[in-house]
């Protein structure tokens, strides 16, 4: 059809990729990616424009760019020709070399420019190619953007080799009122889109990119996820309030729900109050995970026999939808009740033998073996920390019961309840509260959620440490971005818990003892590979954690170089050094250590002989060295769990920082020593004695950090925490 000229000087661009229902995560990711990729792609195509935005729904990914220039900017390219002294004669007239170059580049010889370069002065041809119509360039930019979207899982659906998260069925590409001619995934772009599947089944023609959202809205599609989020939370809250409560708006479920609906409408349904006798966790899991309903609580946080479902569509037939959902939930809850009653016929303890039939992995043995290992590790950790008899007992009991819920009907049917339902059953079996709590917390951390109980934290650490040691002892490796057995995740879980609780333990020592206990027949090479591998992973995760907390990488590396087997202590040292670096005294201390470290050979050994010190500056340095306390760990090394008054890293890091402060007393004597004394004396005895003195300076810092890794002047460069 004939196109009217656009009403806007700099029109709006809309690009819509219409697809069959995208997975929620894919819909979120695609909008984020296209918004990030578009500005660079437009810049590369020399298209100037205003704001860039992107949105998605289950059936579409939409990019909108405001105020797009109708023509590309001109491209300017400079081509270097001959050297100026070759191109021009002494009188300044161009030589045949210049004329030839200009001809070859298609520019007049008078248009050549002289430029100085690092190699000398040269002539340049300035080539301008005028920009073409934007709409033509977009014909290449848009399909490339669509093809550049990455999804964790992709598929083919037609004869084309194109892969996407789900089949692409239509494309809209409009610059103002004009269609951008292009193709992607065997689909020709046009001005035809689709509204809501049920409420607006016919195609919608979009006359102008400026009215795109309004056109979709008339087709019962709310394009902006933020608008759908608001509509969902408001209508869910409203219908729950009418039922006497408020919805538990689980953030993950909310994110997912936003990408399951284009026109959300919440409805409240009911279930029989008898089901409220099921554990809260079971009810919530059935509602959230399986039915994607929001559970509803009253003001005192008690669950009500009510759920909120979010329908994709309007209010027509809402009664049928409610009835259907109530009917489904009743069947689900009846199932759960059946599993619960079956499971409760035997205590958790009685299920432990069945774990022999559950494989962790071919090379990692069965859950029965894992249970046995965990129980031994619990005993070992109780001794190592040490824990009191009662706590050790609780930890061993929790370890023994930890996997028993994996063979319950409830976990077979609702796997996301592992651990949680074990905790519920343990409580009902009459196990001590710390044991039940630990079962519930053993798989944490999840997101920001960390174990809160002591026994839970210890069990969670042991569960992960056992995975690392067993997997690495069995020869598994972590490489690149691949982490199929979750080893990196396990390591970061340990780091998070240890730092959260400021748990002081030398994990290298403990890992060695653990392997000796759980894998006594392991050959020594495998054993040390497993220990080194485990500690390496922990150290990498600690490094990442500290850098993400805002410490500069060189601060972290300097500290980790001095040892990271005690994670909490390493973190304290890093925080202390990071704080101290920003004080004026730091550079004096740094200089003193750096000078000493540079002059003392790495393999130097030797004791200071005080009687051999000839110089006043030498004796002053020795006296200063004798006065300062070494920078050892703030707690006893390899040591005990700290009292609850020393939970945060703040105290210990603060003590380290004060110790660093006191250590600056060494700076003046070191300066004087270097000013007054010639270290590399002719006489070997004198030289060795002076090196021994400096070696003591170096030794002072050794257990704390390797300051040579600190990049001078970097202290202020990183963002503060």
């Amino acid at each position: 059809m004939p196109l009217k000229p656009t009403r806007h000087k700099r029109p709006r661009l809309v690009f819509e990729i219409g697809a069959e229902e995208l997975p929620a995560a894919a819909a979120w990711a695609a909008a984020r990616q296209i918004r990030e990729l578009a500005p660079e792609a437009l810049r590369a195509a020399r298209i100037t424009c205003g704001a860039v935005a992107a949105w998605s729904t289950p059936r579409r990914i939409v990019l909108a760019v405001e105020e797009v220039a109708l023509r590309q900017e001109d491209a300017v390219r400079e081509v270097r020709g001959p050297a100026a002294r070759v191109a021009y004669a002494a009188d300044g007239r161009p030589t045949p070399a210049a004329e030839g170059f200009a001809r070859a580049q298609g520019v007049p010889v008078a248009g050549l420019e002289r430029r100085s370069t690092p190699q000398g002065e040269y002539v340049f041809a300035i080539l301008r190619s005028p920009g073409g119509p934007t709409i033509k360039a977009l014909g290449e930019v848009l399909p490339a953007l669509a093809a550049g979207l990455a999804f964790p899982k992709t598929m083919r659906w037609g004869p084309e080799a194109v892969r996407f998260a789900r089949p692409v069925r239509w494309l809209v590409a409009l610059l103002g009122r004009e269609v951008v001619a292009c193709r992607f995934a065997d689909v020709e772009a046009g001005r035809r889109t689709f509204g809501h599947r049920a409420l607006s089944p016919r195609p919608i023609t979009v006359p102008d990119a400026h009215g795109f959202e309004a056109a979709l809205r008339r087709g019962f599609v709310l394009l902006d996820p933020a608008v759908r989020r608001r509509r969902i939370t408001e209508s869910a809250t409203r219908v729950a309030r009418r039922a006497g409560g408020h919805p538990i708006l689980d953030p993950d479920l909310l994110e997912e729900t936003i990408q399951l609906v284009e026109w959300p409408e919440a409805l409240a349904g009911r279930f029989a109050p008898e089901f409220l006798s099921l554990p809260r966790e079971v009810l919530i899991t059935v509602m959230q995970h399986h039915q994607k309903y929001f559970a509803v609580e009253d003001a005192s946080a008690q669950l009500l026999p009510v759920f909120v479902a979010v329908r994709n569509g309007g209010s027509r037939g809402l009664e049928t939808v409610r009835e259907g959902n109530e009917w489904v939930l009743r069947a689900r809850l009846a199932d759960a009740q059946f599993f619960f009653e079956e499971d409760r016929k035997r205590p958790l303890e009685a299920r432990i033998p069945e774990l022999a039939g559950l494989v962790v992995h071919e090379r990692l043995g069965t859950m029965a073996q894992k249970t046995d290992r965990l129980t031994r590790l619990a005993h070992l950790l109780g001794k190592a920390l040490p824990l009191d008899v009662e706590k050790t007992g609780h930890l061993e009991r929790a370890a023994r019961l930890s996997k028993a819920d994996l063979v319950t009907q409830m976990v077979r049917e609702l796997p996301e309840l592992q651990g949680v339902i074990g905790g519920v059953y343990a409580r009902l079996d009459g196990e001590p509260a710390p044991v039940a709590g630990a079962l519930r917390e053993q798989y944490l951390p999840r997101g920001a959620l960390l174990p809160r109980s002591d026994v839970g934290a210890y069990l969670a650490i042991l569960d992960k440490l056992d995975l690392l040691l067993s997997a690495l002892a069995a020869g598994f490796a972590v490489s690149g971005s691949q982490d199929p057995y979750g080893l990196r995740r396990a390591a970061s879980g340990i780091v998070a818990i240890v730092l959260d609780r400021h748990l002081r333990i030398n994990l290298r020592t403990f890992a060695g003892a653990a392997l000796a206990e759980t894998h006594p027949a392991l050959d020594p090479a495998r054993r040390s590979a497993a220990i080194d591998g485990t500690l390496d992973l922990l150290r990498q995760r600690l490094r990442t954690t500290l850098i993400e907390a805002g410490l500069s990488y060189d601060t972290v590396d300097a500290v980790l170089e001095a040892g990271a087997d005690d994670l909490a202590d390493a973190a304290d040292r890093a925080h202390a050094l990071w704080a101290f670096r920003r004080r004026p005294e730091f550079s004096r201390l740094y200089t003193a250590f750096d000078r000493a470290a540079r002059i003392v050979p790495a393999n130097f050994h030797g004791e200071v002989r005080p009687e051999g010190l000839e110089h006043e500056a030498e004796r002053a340095l020795l006296a200063a060295l004798d006065r300062v306390e070494p920078l050892g760990p703030a707690g006893s090394r390899g040591g005990t769990a700290r009292s609850s008054t020393d939970r945060g890293p703040g105290d210990a890091a603060g003590r380290y920082e004060q110790a660093l402060q006191r250590l600056t007393a060494i700076a003046d004597p070191v300066d004087r020593f270097f000013a007054d004394v010639m270290v590399m004396a002719e006489d070997e005895t004198v030289r060795t004695n002076r090196l021994a003195l400096l070696s003591r300076v170096v030794q002072l810092m050794r257990p704390f950090a390797d300051l040579t890794r600190v990049v001078a002047g970097e202290g202020k460069a990183s963002p503060a925490s």
Binding site: L22, P159, G317, A331
Partner: protein, 281 residues
């Protein structure tokens, strides 16, 4: 709508679309064939047997399968219109396509697609098949699997599958409950583990022999029997730790060889079903 009318409605709908209305695979578990085809397939899952006592779980359930190859661009609409024939109108319900990937590890087959939910109830599986027998498929098919009991329960509003009205005067339970009870008893209690183990071995040997004799269909039939023997052993709780992965691997190897042989035979015959329709991708 009676249970049998649901099947009849689907048969009529897909026949009108141009599907060959086929008969189910007459062995244990379902199997795919090319082109446009539709049929009711009994599906046996020994571990799901509940003696005919659980209102929602069955040893054998019935699914209506439609395979469209290649997948037409309007396949979702085709599916939704077939529901219209069952009296399910989208405007009156909440219909969702929820991400779900299908995989049969013993057969080396997988695809991406959705579970279709009707007012919170899963009623169908919708899959774009990507690999079969461990091989990428050149021509992508769409497989629609209607869960007939679930759909009927939803339409008839029956809490128990056994209360479904199959035909006037006859319930699902009257026709199938005894079968469920006996099969469950067999799979969960009575099956002779030693015999099943021998059967697995024998089926496997026979499949291998047939593969060597280049008989793809019988070889695949014995592959399925092998896979079913494994499922029975598994339901009986008789598959040991290390055994499990190894038995599944052996099934997968047979499936792969069967698929390769079938392809080779079709190629030798010049792809008869493709003739005059599309060019092989």
């Amino acid at each position: 709508m009676h249970f049998q009318d649901i099947i009849l409605s689907l048969e009529r709908y897909w026949a009108a679309y141009g599907c060959v209305i086929a008969q189910p695979y007459d062995g244990e578990v379902g199997a795919g064939t090319p082109w446009k085809v539709a049929y009711t397939q009994p599906s046996r899952r020994p571990a799901d047997g509940r003696y005919g006592k659980n209102p929602n779980r069955l040893y054998t359930h019935l699914q209506y399968q439609v395979i469209l190859k290649p997948a037409p661009a309007d396949v979702q609409d085709l599916y939704l219109r077939s529901l219209g024939g069952l009296g399910i109108k989208m405007l009156d319900h909440d219909l969702r396509f929820l991400e779900d990937d299908w995989e049969a590890p013993t057969l080396g087959a997988w695809g991406l697609g959705w579970q279709v939910f009707l007012d919170g109830q899963e009623i169908s599986q919708f899959t774009y098949m990507q690999q079969v027998g461990g091989m990428d498929v050149p021509l992508i098919s769409a497989e629609l699997t209607y869960g007939l009991e679930r759909i009927a329960q939803s339409i008839q509003r029956k809490d128990s599958v056994f209360d479904l009205v199959w035909a006037p005067g006859v319930t699902y339970g009257e026709i199938r409950q005894q079968e469920e009870f006996e099969h469950s008893t067999y799979a969960l209690e009575t099956a002779d583990v030693a015999v099943l183990g021998q059967l697995f071995e024998a089926y496997e040997r026979e499949a291998q022999r047939l593969l060597d004799a280049r008989l793809a269909f019988p070889a695949y039939e014995y592959t399925l029997k092998c896979s079913h023997a494994f499922n029975l052993l598994d339901a009986r709780g008789a598959v040991g730790v290390a055994e499990r992965a190894s038995l599944m691997g052996r099934c997968r190897a047979l499936a792969r060889r069967s698929a390769e042989l079938y392809l080779a035979r079709r190629e030798e015959m010049g792809w008869p079903l493709l003739r005059g329709r599309v060019h092989a991708a």
